[in-house]
């Protein structure tokens, strides 16, 4: 139970940190493709740093796998969104979006994990 809460907190934290990093670098009107690429790079670096810090407490795989989606792909989406000035006008609302994105990804990974878990091959004797 504690680990499950930790997974969601880690996802939220990576989402928040990615949002902050993207907000600090990407400005409204920036070329959208460039913003996506920068956002992806920023999100990847952020998730690696935050993920490494949290891995001893939550687990390497359970932090890094959802974290990679939040950082890399979330960074792309948030970068594109900020360059278009679409949606979140204030930092607070952007952070809420980042946190929600983190929760959705962690939740999605947990559901998918339930589907995939178990034997995928068993030899008949």
């Amino acid at each position: 139970m504690l680990f499950a809460i930790g997974d969601y907190l880690a996802g939220i934290l990576i989402g928040l940190a990615t949002t902050l990093a993207v907000r600090a670098i990407i400005w409204p009107g920036m070329d959208m493709v460039l913003a996506m690429l920068i956002g992806m790079a920023l999100g990847t670096v952020v998730h690696l740093l935050v993920g490494l810090a949290l891995a001893p407490l939550v687990g390497m795989f359970e932090t890094m796998v959802p974290g990679s989606l939040i950082g890399m792909y979330g960074g792309m989406l948030l970068g594109m969104r900020d360059s278009m000035s679409a949606g979140s006008l204030t930092l607070a609302s952007a952070l809420i979006v980042g946190a929600i994105f983190g929760v959705i990804v962690v939740c999605g990974i947990k559901v998918y994990n339930r589907i995939l878990q178990g034997a995928v091959f068993e030899a008949s004797n």
Partner: protein
Amino acid sequence: MDIETQRKWDAASRTLDIMSFAEDRRIGPHKRRLFSKTRGATLMVAAGTGNDFKFFPPNMNVVAVDISPKMLERAAKKAATYTGTIDLREMDVCNLEFPDASFDTVATAFTFCSVPKPVAGLSELRRVLKPDGQLLMIEHVRSAIGPIGIFMDLMTPLTSRLGPSLNRDTVGNVQKAGFRLQRVENVYLDVLKIIEAVPE
């Protein structure tokens, strides 16, 4: 002996216990379930700092090898608390100093993400396994889930400098090395897998 790999894991030995603190608790029950199938003379490959010794059934006779002397220094303390015997040896999995058909069981935990020549290492395990022996593995592998797999491919050049490769096809490598799969189980997504195999 692969000196470069040895140096890498000597350096990693300082942080391995800290980094695997939570993983031990989350993945530990799966390791215990897998290693409960251990029987007879047992070889554990890449013993690391000995975190996995506690998952073996009690009173086993295990030979545990690792390429890193620094890892083995730490593992010695944990081996001393095991209620059986654990014989620690510094050895490269690609060049094991055991005769053919020496072991009934070979066990690995997160090993073949880190062996530079995985098929050569697995072939060596096949050599030291008895014909009716068993290979018990818990390993992380490349995900077939598109975005996660792509990320693993992108990150591997970085992670392999400090530790493991993320994009190994260990199930395929086991078969290439001359094993027949008995059971494959997804433990976490399709990234963490239990693999049970026997010599072909």
